[in-house]
Symmetry: C2
Subunit: 461 residues, 2 copies
């Protein structure tokens, strides 16, 4: 028995070694933004004048319980940036710890800025999926505060005689620095803002902006730019998303404020190099599940001249096209939630923190840029030897067929009505007759979130 | 006992899961060049018209022993490309299986193109270190052949009556395709060439070209380009390498045919964007251990204006500067062995193979280019918020000191003579008096490679 166990241990140890060396590059673990390479060579100077030594977190506080009830708490907004490539998405999931939110809450608990998630009054602006990054994800939450003198969003502790507390103008906790010390390197707090008690990152967001990066390849980017304009305005996007009826998403009208396709480096607009990068940038009030990736998928088909730009208008015409044709959405890693906009917030940036983040991003960029150019050099050399470039579009999931089938000739997915019926039968949704003979549908008794109330759109992509 | 083993297994399984999710992105494992993303979404077409299905290797031959003695064998050159970032170097090592050579020999054995390494008459053009890539690494080796009719480099089997064999013009084994099927995706055979029996990839190489990619940052690339020229010619490079005296490398004169610093994209020469990439390209007959990385380190110091270009001439002047100052070499991942040149070889390319490699490189490039641009977008946005870029040079190992110490004022490493003495004392080198009172030094009885004979330069970097 133990021989079999020993064998299994050897197997697993070999697997761990192999995976570690595949993570290989010195910055492998979790796309580490800040790791300085080890060196066995003599360095330029003595080891103790290292400028990027990891700062240690608070020591010795772990075991001493903290009485949160005697501290002020304040409602704040936190702005996060993260590289989503190593995570299973933003939102906490049952089957994995490897989400951005899980890491965020670990940090909030470790720094004792919150007591627990449930009581922290937490809202998030959007969910991003596995592989999707963010430069401006915003959350709102109650954090422990130093401000016995009160302030925007501050709640003083009950039953404490605050007059005995020093009310001099003491600084707030350096939230950004405290959290960045303990967060993984590929998740960073950019800044924070004091907010009123009733502020919600989810409901008070004025607009959300996504970017999708893609190489020109053999795409007609001018056609794509024209097509993108057709997304602007208020439309029913049920054919350009993954319907999430079971979770109570029943209406699919969304407003797109702007949609564009432009070169990443402005001077390259006039070029025709297939290795130039372009950005599909889209700004809207709120988005449906996988909406941006479906919109991008259509643009890629248009760019490959497999569909005409009119296909967008046709799929937005849900009267004539009530059911979504089967097509793959665009892959995840080029997508980034670039901005979540809130009016009237006073973001408090800690200059040193932001400089650290910039330095770390530059280091990471250096590695990926160098590798990108090495690969490009190999590609150019092979092309010089006569190799023929593939026209395959690498940004769409799944394989490529030799014969293309137009979207409107394809099998279609279930209609909205059919899906509603499915969940009504299972008790997850309930129909209710209104006074004037109309009908409303809301979450049923068997819904995961079985509370009545209006159905609000999920915001994610 | 088995409870402890079971615990260990659980630990290891958790570690494997964690590492796998860190490798996260669908193309994580070993920088996979050819993996098509999985999709749970409906794809554009039926699953069975996939165009990039993995081809299966020979089935059922594994257990049937092959009698190599009845087959012709031929001496060939194979040209390899590999992404070195996930490997512990090219050369086989005692403490790890994770080398390019180990994978190569696994493939040669699996395809039964060789019987074993020892009898395969194997030479390699150069060794590349951990993290270093290659576009044109060349090896020479004896492979099994179909050519009973003989040919360049072909040895017919002894004791076989070849007259009974079909001597019609049958094709040679498709070496490239056979090996690429079983090699990991980040190691590819580009082509092969028939060579004479006495050809050696190591000794017959006319020149080797390396490239080192780096971002402009705040470097003075014009100064670096001027400085690079000083490397050209024949010089003693003992101060610009890691001396490998223990392995018998005793003379450090090497010839550099050309050395240049140029923009990766030619039109960017006139720009000043710190995010433009440049290439240090260097062509020489043979190189010492870590030579290119030391040369690059000096150029980086010159580019940062911490040293004058004359430092190169001074360090090449071993009369006046016989001992190497302590300095770090440049990091590994930007370095690639770009070309190994051999006169008069007739490289046999298999068009389909080369197209596959190009497609795979394009797919990989797409991922790294997209990530690079996402990071660049974040950097630009942070700079717009007022973050100050760091001047740290990310390409040198070790930390950066606030106060720079000029090379010629630093502590120096051991001299060549002192190192020789060290190994002579230990029996790994032996001094021998020549007839005219001169002295030669050769590998001693205790050397790892204890055979007498002239000491030839190791070629690696």
């Amino acid at each position: 028995m133990s021989e079999a166990l020993t064998e299994r241990i050897k197997e697993l140890e070999a697997e761990v070694d192999k995976l570690r060396s595949q993570l290989g590059e010195r910055n492998g673990a979790g796309e580490d933004m800040e790791l300085t390479p080890h060196s066995n060579e003599i360095t330029d100077c003595k080891p103790d004048c290292t400028s990027s030594s990891k700062k240690k977190g608070k020591k010795g506080n772990k075991d001493r319980p903290l009485d949160f009830s005697v501290h002020p708490r304040r409602h704040v907004a936190l702005r996060l940036a993260y590289m989503g490539w190593a995570y299973q998405g933003f939102a906490v999931q049952e089957n994995t710890e490897n989400t951005v939110e899980a890491r965020l809450f670990e940090a909030l608990l470790k720094t004792r800025l919150i007591q627990d998630r449930q009581s922290s009054n937490y809202h998030r602006c959007g969910r991003t999926d596995k592989g999707v990054s963010a430069f401006s994800q915003v959350i709102s939450i109650d954090l422990r505060s130093t401000q016995f003198c009160g302030g925007v969003g501050v709640t003083l502790p009950e039953n404490i005689d605050v007059s005995t507390k020093n009310k001099a103008d003491i600084s707030e906790f350096p939230y950004v620095k405290m959290l960045n010390r303990v967060l993984p390197q590929d998740i960073r707090i950019l800044d924070w803002a004091p907010v009123a008690q009733d502020f919600s990152a989810r409901f008070d967001c004025q607009s959300r902006t996504y970017r999708y990066y893609f190489p020109r390849g053999s795409l007609d980017v001018t056609l794509m730019a024209d097509a993108a304009k057709r997304y602007e305005g208020t439309h029913d996007f049920r054919n350009l998303c993954k319907m999430d009826v079971g979770n109570g998403v029943l209406q699919f009208q969304r407003t797109i404020l702007s949609a564009s396709v432009k070169a990443a480096q402005p001077q390259q607009d006039a070029n025709t190099d297939q290795y130039d990068l372009f950005i599909f940038e889209i700004k809207g009030l709120a988005f449906l599940y996988h909406q941006v990736r479906c919109m991008m998928a259509l643009l890629l088909l248009i760019g490959q001249k497999l569909e005409a730009p009119e296909i967008i208008d046709q799929l937005l015409d849900v009267q004539n096209n009530p059911r979504k044709p089967q097509y793959s959405m665009a892959v995840d890693y080029p997508l980034i939630l670039h901005d979540c906009h809130f009016d009237g917030l006073s973001w408090k940036q800690e200059t040193e923190e932001v400089n650290h983040i910039l330095a770390a991003l530059q280091q990471h960029w250096t590695q990926t840029a160098v590798k990108t150019h090495i690969l490009h050099g190999m590609i150019k050399a092979l092309e010089a030897k006569g190799a023929a470039p593939s026209n395959h579009c690498w940004l769409v999931e799944g394989s490529r067929c030799k014969s293309y089938k137009p979207l409107l000739e394809r099998p279609v997915c279930e209609s909205l009505e059919s899906r509603i019926e499915h969940f009504v039968k299972r008790g997850r949704l309930e129909r209710e007759e209104g006074q004037n003979g109309g009908e409303t549908i809301h979450r049923g008794k068997r819904s995961k979130h079985s509370h009545s109330g209006s159905i609000l759109p999920e915001t994610s992509s």
